[in-house]
């Protein structure tokens, strides 16, 4: 990112403003969605999807992940895999446990 010209930076400012608007709208949407009469599974799925979209926007644009170097992406890919592991394996172990 550091080699970018003044023109590029001014262009990216517009993107940042756009991302900000999207984040604000999605925040309102997720709050509104929580008032819908949905089952727990549905609202769980909806809330996490919206949060993931917002998270991707922040990481992708504000943190420049969409244009980041492969080394950083590799580290984060590895981290993400282990994050999934620690999120879901205890969860699965738990489900298996209560079945006894």
């Amino acid at each position: 990112m550091s080699k970018h010209s003044v023109e590029d930076i001014k262009k990216s400012v517009k993107v940042y403003i756009g991302v900000f608007a999207a984040l604000a709208v999605l925040t309102v949407v997720t709050v509104a969605a929580s008032y819908l009469d949905l089952s727990f599974g549905e609202s769980f799925f909806l809330a996490l999807t919206i949060a993931s979209i917002k998270g991707t926007l922040v990481a992708g644009y504000f943190m420049h992940l969409f244009t980041e170097r492969t080394a950083v992406l590799a580290v984060l890919g590895l981290t993400f895999f282990f994050l999934i592991t620690i999120m879901f394996l205890p969860f699965m172990a738990f489900t298996d446990q209560s079945a006894i």
Partner: protein
């Protein structure tokens, strides 16, 4: 002896040291909060008393929504301060960075009112596992906000001298602070629905 690639990018990795450093640190932070989210899932799975459902309905959603917007705005002002620095607009940089600090303070003040309201109603971490994890997660997040505020304050006042001496290095530092700050925002983006809305 100067450490190589402290300021300039290394050709084959395309990064300066600090950039890789902060990303590694953030990776460990992902695992820290990941562990706590995992604990949340685990406890919620085992919750037979309905503490999680009744607990989250007692939280103040409007205040938290407001806080979410505050934090998102602070992320935008943070990145704008970096952009201003890149464009050489030092005055704007200070304004944006100051705004970030201010918004962070607003977030903490709102959180303070939320906490005291809970204490007032006799709700403490020991009330139920839901409130235990609620106070732990939001408390840890607040510590991160506080840490970020200290660093931002440093670059706004005592550390800003570097802006004119080593401008490139200073810009790098602001980029790193920005990455951290966006990460704190990112965590809140997940905390908000998980604690307040579900």
């Amino acid at each position: 002896m100067e450490i190589p690639y402290n300021v300039e990018e290394r050709q084959d990795t395309g990064m300066f040291n600090g950039k890789l450093g902060i990303w590694l640190f953030l990776a460990s932070e992902v695992m820290l909060f990941g562990g706590l989210f995992s604990a949340y899932v685990f406890l919620r799975m085992g919750d037979v008393t309905g503490a999680f459902n009744s607990g989250s309905s007692e939280l103040n959603v409007p205040l938290a929504t407001f806080n979410t917007l505050v934090l998102i705005s602070s992320s935008v002002t943070m990145i704008m301060s970096w952009v201003s620095l890149k464009l050489g607009e030092q005055k704007k940089f200070k304004q944006y960075l100051g705004a970030t600090l201010l918004l962070a303070a607003v977030f903490l003040v709102v959180k303070y009112f939320e906490y005291t309201a809970k204490f007032h109603h006799g709700i403490f971490p020991e009330t139920s596992t839901f409130f235990a994890i609620y106070f732990t997660l939001t408390g840890l997040h607040m510590i991160h906000i506080l840490g970020g505020m200290i660093v931002i304050f440093y670059f706004l006042v005592p550390g800003s001298k570097m802006m004119n001496i080593e401008p490139e290095r200073f810009t790098n530092r602001i980029e790193i602070v920005g990455l951290y700050w966006h990460f704190v925002d990112l965590v809140w983006i997940f905390l908000f629905p998980v604690l307040y809305l579900l």
